[in-house]
Subunit: 215 residues, 2 copies
DNA sequence: ACTTGTCCTGTCATGCCGTCAGCTTACCGA
DNA sequence: TCGGTAAGCTGACGGCATGACAGGACAAGT
């Protein structure tokens, strides 16, 4: 579909080139974890990768461009989050389990991609459509599934008609994303992971089904 | 407490100096709204304020330092968000109104301070304690009130004992903050403000009381 | 007019940005 | 084995932001 990996000036990247490119991405990823986004400099990434700044610019237009690349990669993996919702039951004990596993999976994913997700979030909040699209791609995989779940429950008359499935699903997912992004913060504040998860699961269950879960 | 405003090199700022300082802060605020945080340069802020970069460095150690100043200011105002919760009823129609007004007030505040809150959020997520503290200051004003509300409902036996008040309140507030920060995003995605608010209010009500609201 | 302390800016060394020409390396067909 | 060709990399450079300093402008009091 997209064809081959290309350098900025149009050459196709060969084996060695791709390796260098990947190394730069890896190093950038590391830097994002260890220092503020604002302070990540091309020269540092290049140095860390054992190459020169000029090489960096051969593969990426700028830091942002490289970040988008990393984010894109992560988004692919994030599409798998759909699994946490689609085809699952929302009634009885199974419903509670669905909630719990959704929360669990979500927090894990966020913890894993912590640094890059921060930047994506910022970009999206600043109105950058490219970042926004990536954020959507990840969240939609869950949001859409949840939206469907609500709609289905509505047709069965189990959920009030005046609930907007999209808004509800979107809000819940936003909550998960936000809490996930500040997991460390919660801990500092004295809320333990162990009590955080069930409460999130409870909220998800309440939001989707409108009822307390049976555990 | 803090006493007078001081320059970086320790002088006390007089009338004129304070005016310049404030102008720099205002211009920085504007710049944060119009361009990505990463691209905000001291020289641009100074130019916009009709002064020189050297002047900027007389009052602030760097961009981040000035941002903290703005954030601190906003946090003071944010403390007033407590009003949205403290002393309000969570039962019957009044409970629904409390939810609605909380959501309304929260979204308004966020929309108003949009740009600076993005940066605070990023700083906090990156683990910077100064930003984290400011974020807490704002959110705590609401979180603590909500926590109290849940505790009270628990003692009355109206809410399950296994709900962690702090975790629940924190999650709800995080949700509000996150949704507020991506309000534009929701719109792009096809969810209208008008349906977003009631759904958030519903979730808040469900989370705090465990019950559907009576409208 | 003179002094004092505040306030601002011109200037400079330093360092990063982003680009280019040109060199090195790898691959391939003859 | 030997060019030929394209990929891959870097030194070097002009440009710009940073951050520090010294000195000039300004206001207020004497």
């Amino acid at each position: 579909m997209t064809g081959q990996v290309r350098t900025v000036d149009g050459r196709v990247a060969g084996r060695r080139g791709q390796a260098t490119r990947q190394k730069l991405l890896d190093c950038l990823s590391e830097m994002l974890s260890s220092s503020p986004y604002r302070d990540v400099k091309v020269i540092d990434v290049a140095r860390k990768a054992g190459t020169s700044p000029a090489t960096f610019y051969q593969y990426f237009p700028d830091v942002e461009g490289a970040v988008l690349e990393i984010a894109e990669e992560m988004a692919k993996e994030g599409a798998g989050l759909t699994e946490l919702v689609s085809g699952r039951s929302w009634v009885g004990k199974a419903g509670w389990q669905t909630s719990e596993e959704l929360v669990e999976g979500f927090l894990d994913f966020w913890r894993k991609h912590d640094a890059i997700l921060r930047v994506v979030d910022l970009g999206a909040a600043e109105g950058d459509k490219r970042f926004y699209k990536i954020r959507m791609k990840i969240l939609n995989s869950v949001t859409n599934s949840l939206t469907e779940a609500v709609k289905e429950l509505q047709t069965k008359g189990k959920v009030d008609k005046d609930v907007s499935p999209a808004a509800m699903a979107g809000s819940l997912v936003a909550m998960l994303a936000s809490v996930a992004g500040h997991q460390k913060g919660f801990q500092t504040w004295g809320v333990k992971q162990a009590e955080l998860k069930p409460n999130l699961a409870l909220l998800v269950h309440l939001g989707i089904t409108g009822k307390k879960p049976t555990k």
